[in-house]
């Protein structure tokens, strides 16, 4: 080959472009800069996505099934949260109580302020016992403090005994999931890894063969280990009891076989009493893997009484137990007005498994060196540095994790705040000042990156886009909104779109929705309202920017249907409510917007009007986020109680007036058939506003299939961004696949979507009309009205004919 190359300059190595370097997970573990984050997403999409998706969705499905079978699931969550809140509040006292408890039964306790302190102590224990080998159970906290690196640096063999950690140790990779650290590995990749590392001819082509192979290696290690290291899921201060949850048995072995047991735990794992471990018992397993109980749940107060199981002379030595409690930033987190919330985490992984972005890329992209997923950003920031939490930008705020967290942590709020603090670290520039000033962003938020400033003040730019609709719409003229399967397609290369991508990060491949000629408010004002006389149900439709400057027909359909149902309906002015700003971490601006929206609605609410919000992400602000953005709980409650999804409100009216759905909405008049595919918005599901739509459509007589994805992947502005366009479409693939599958099973269904951005995402996949549920309802009620008119006209005609006949007979009678 060398000879040929030397004779043929055209194919010399120099002439062949070097293959692009393929990133390994380690290369992109630290995401303190954006470039690493984007490379990690690319790497994960190329290599890990399909396995991560299958495994997380499997966990997710199991958890939903198990939760449905746990009758007091919500009560357990409340109880667990109360215990955690109490524990964090009393943490310094609990640490002292725990120290006394462990020492009372001859254990040792060390409270490490830093990761380095913890490693030094553990190394000292190992040196004191002349340890040559340490076996470890899975412990994210030991990953956090880089324990292996320190011990190995001192010549101690460290053996990871959890099979997932065993794989990662062989592969030299960081965990991709806080519960299942090698979740990104398929069986085939594990086979290849083992064969490469152990140079074996064994086929190792089944899970059983791989497990047996690893077990043989590890059993020998357990029998000869000097020290066993475990973590702890919870620790009871009153008794010093460790709660250890696992499936493989390696943690039991690590705590029982070697003469020395070292347990490493963050101080947030301490709760007051052993009795209070009870609610976590079912909650943790169920939230983690969907099992009613994990295979082994141990409650031990080491050192154990029976002699250590170990070969040679070690059994003669007395047992020793060391509890290493780690602060490493946790007490600082405890003092933080926002991030103390993260200390409630019990590391079950439910927030990871229920996150559509995590399901698609896993923790090597949506995670840092130790912690991953929605909750991971707060932990990376708290235990290392803020910049390492940059991956939290992959949290779109869809809120699907909120319901699934067993201790009710508001993870999207934590991530909005991480975004906020990262924004604050950015330099101020002239262009940011101008944009911030023009859009009236809060001064605090004016160092926010330009792209985020643009998306966070969508209402402002949309207003101008709407005023110059013909110009703005010309940017995408002639481009069909559909998926570009051709990878060479660079998208819209018009000057305007190139500039939008350069300045604002709006991906050129994403077709922009057109601005309507008239806004929703303008259209509504042009309609003569019916007399309000006798209309006791009073409603204000909140004209959020997404409906006002985007999909106005949804707003108009809502207006018309509610009026047809007898409500007295008015439309508010278009005011931002803060959703867009909050999604970009512009918290101060979001608060400003929340106050503006509620000021706009105040007189309407005082007038006894309920608030109907068409866009679910805006409605979610009223129902959830205003609790944090408005000045008082009373203000929040004033609006929360009155805010409704339009279909939810239709159902409320029907119920109040005792009218059956099928009597009001006539399915026989449907122009789109009877078969529907409904995709509810992620935030709409979280606030419980999706079920009424499915129920109403079903009650009317439609055959409704619902998507079962957590989120469509568009997530407001997320899917428009150049940085995340590919990820957004990869997430959307699940939804697209479900639609295609339904089409195959009996013909195309009419697509129905409640969210603006969900509709845009569906438009990227399908060239079809996509209706909002209210648009569909409007056609039924409108057509019914038309047919009612025909009947009435016919009746009038009959009456007229009768009258005419009567007159005629009278005339004839008078003649005679």
């Amino acid at each position: 080959m060398a000879d040929i190359d030397s004779k043929s300059p055209s194919i010399t190595p120099a002439a062949v472009p070097p293959a692009p370097k393929v990133d390994t997970p380690r290369d992109v573990a630290n995401k303190s800069d954006k470039d690493h984050l984007l490379r990690a997403i690319r790497m994960a999409l190329d290599i890990e996505s399909s396995t991560v998706r299958a495994n997380t969705q499997h966990f997710n499905k199991n958890r939903y099934r198990a939760a449905a079978n746990l009758p007091d699931y919500d009560d357990l969550k409340d109880e667990a949260r109360r215990i955690k809140d109490k524990s964090i509040a009393n943490l310094p006292e609990l640490i002292q109580t725990l120290k006394n408890s462990v020492r009372a039964h001859n254990g040792h306790v060390f409270v490490a302020n830093t990761a380095a302190d913890a490693c030094r102590y553990i190394l000292d224990v190992c040196r004191w016992r002349a340890a040559k080998m340490v076996v470890k159970g899975k412990s994210m906290t030991s990953e956090e403090i880089h324990l292996n690196h320190v011990l190995q640096g001192d010549g101690i063999e460290v053996v990871e005994s959890d099979l997932a950690e065993f794989i990662l140790q062989l592969a030299d990779e960081q965990p991709s999931h806080i519960l299942a650290p090698a979740l990104h590995y398929s069986r085939e990749r594990i086979t290849a890894l083992f064969k490469r590392k152990y140079e074996t001819d064994l086929p190792l082509d089944t899970g059983e063969a791989l497990t047996f192979f690893a077990r043989q290696i590890l059993r020998e290690k357990f029998l000869h280990a000097d020290v066993g290291v475990t973590g702890a899921n919870l620790i009871a201060a009153d008794t010093g009891t460790l709660m250890l949850v696992e499936s493989e048995g390696n943690i039991r072995l690590a705590s029982f076989a070697p003469p020395v047991h070292i347990a490493i735990a963050g101080i947030e794992k301490i709760i007051p009493t052993r009795e209070e471990m009870a609610p976590f018992l079912e909650l943790l397993s169920m939230s983690a893997t969907g099992q009613s109980m994990s295979v082994y749940t141990s409650f031990i107060s080491p050192p154990l009484a029976d002699p250590p199981f170990a070969m040679a002379s070690k059994a003669l030595k007395p047992r020793e137990f060391h509890l290493v409690l780690i602060d490493n930033g946790r007490l600082k987190m405890r003092d933080d007005p926002v991030f103390h919330e993260a200390l409630n985490c019990i590391r079950c992984g439910a927030c990871l498994n229920s996150c559509a972005n995590f399901q698609t890329v896993g923790g090597h992209a949506f995670g840092g060196e130790t912690y991953s997923g929605g909750i991971g950003g707060s932990w990376e920031a708290g235990t290392s540095k803020l910049e390492n939490a940059r991956f939290a930008e992959l949290c779109t705020g869809c809120t699907r994790c909120v319901q699934n967290c067993p201790v009710r942590i508001d993870i999207p709020w934590l991530n909005a705040n991480l975004g906020n603090r990262l924004n604050q670290t950015e330099p101020s520039t002239a262009i940011k000042s101008v944009l911030g000033s023009m859009s009236d962003a809060d001064r605090v938020d004016r160092s926010t990156p330009v792209s985020k400033m643009f998306f966070g003040n969508y209402h402002y730019f949309a207003k101008w886009g709407s005023r110059f609709a013909s110009v703005a719409n010309s940017f995408d003229a002639g481009r069909k909104p559909s998926i570009r399967t051709d990878s060479s397609d660079e998208g819209n290369t018009s000057f305007a779109r190139v500039m939008m991508e350069k300045w604002f990060g709006v991906d050129r491949r994403r077709t922009l929705p057109p601005f309507p000629k008239y806004t929703f408010v303008q259209e509504a004002q042009a309609i003569e309202p019916p007399s309000s006389k006798g209309r006791e149900i009073k409603v204000v439709i909140f004209a959020e920017a997404f409906t006002n400057y985007g999909m106005t027909s949804r707003g108009l359909a809502t207006l018309n249907v509610l009026r047809e149902l007898g409500a007295d309906v008015v439309v508010s002015e278009c005011v931002p409510e803060g959703r867009a700003a909050m999604s970009q971490g512009m918290i101060a601006t979001a608060k400003q917007h929340a106050r503006a929206a509620t000021r706009e609605l105040d007189p309407h609410v005082s007038d006894g009007r309920d608030i109907v919000v068409v866009e679910p992400s805006s409605l979610s602000m009223f129902r959830r986020d205003f609790a944090r953005l408005l000045d008082s709980k009373d203000r929040f409650e004033r609006f929360r109680k009155r805010a409704f999804d339009p279909v939810e409100y239709v159902v409320k009216i029907l119920k109040a007036t005792g009218r059956p759905a099928a009597g009001v909405f006539d399915i026989s008049k449907s122009k789109v058939g009877h078969r529907l595919f409904y995709h509810a918005h992620c935030q709409q599901k979280t606030i419980g506003a999706a079920e009424p739509t499915v129920q109403l459509l079903t009650d009317i007589g439609f055959d409704v299939v619902t998507s079962n994805v957590e989120c469509c992947g568009m997530a407001g502005s997320f899917g428009y961004k150049k940085d995340f366009y590919d990820l957004s479409l990869a997430v959307g693939a699940d939804l697209f696949g479900q639609v295609v599958q339904q089409d195959r099973d009996g013909g195309a269904r009419q697509l129905i979507a409640s969210g603006t951005s969900c509709t845009e995402q569906l438009h990227a996949g399908f060239e079809r009309k996509i209706l909002h549920p209210m648009e569909l309802l409007e056609t039924l009620i409108e057509r019914q009205k038309e047919s009612d008119k025909v009947v009435k006209d016919a009746e009038d005609a009959e009456v007229e004919a009768d009258l005419e006949a009567l007159k005629r007979s009278k005339r004839e009678a008078s003649k005679s």
Partner: protein, 175 residues
């Protein structure tokens, strides 16, 4: 009124454990254990703490039982016989009290773990064991492990039963 034994049996079986109902007599117990262990050469027994000694004593005469096993014998034994402290109907878990000699080893090291469970020690939910009134508050003082089926992993791709702990768990429900 929930049938705790039936519910336990259902859920333990779902968790891949085997449950056999056995009459509470020394002969019946010995016959069933002999059937379950077959020709196993290394059987390790633990001293009973909650069951009557005469009930379990008959097992010592079974072929293959190692009277006073050393660590190297434990490492290669085939069967561990353990007594349950309690069991949980809603999850199919058995709860083993640790601390007495060989309990940790017999419930963890051997490929087959046989667990003797007295029917009256079945409780409804796991959290009931944290009630100070349950079993005289013993469950809040002891080192315990809830065992729900054989050890398992999903880390190697598909679910694999039998990792570091037993591959099979047989629960003998003593009626």
């Amino acid at each position: 009124m929930i049938d705790l034994a039936a519910t336990f049996e259902e859920h333990a079986t779902e968790a891949a454990a085997m449950v056999w109902r056995v009459k509470r007599t020394p002969v019946a117990l010995r016959d069933v254990v002999a059937l379950a262990t077959g020709k196993a050469q290394g059987i390790v027994l633990t001293e009973p703490e909650f069951l009557p000694v005469p009930l379990v004593d008959g097992l010592r005469g079974l072929a293959g039982v190692i009277p006073k096993p050393h660590d190297d014998e434990l490492a290669v034994a085939d069967v561990g016989i353990t007594e349950a402290f309690a069991a949980v109907a809603s999850t199919g878990s058995v709860c083993v009290a640790l601390g007495r000699p060989l309990v940790a080893a017999t419930s963890l090291l051997m490929p087959l773990n046989i667990i003797l469970l007295a029917k009256e020690r079945i409780i409804e939910r796991p959290r009931d064991l944290f009630n100070p009134d349950m079993f005289d508050g013993e469950s809040l003082k002891r080192n315990l492990v809830f065992i729900t089926g054989p050890s398992a992993t999903a880390d190697m791709g598909p679910l694999v039963v039998g990792v570091h702990g037993p591959h099979r768990v047989l629960i003998l429900l003593l009626e």
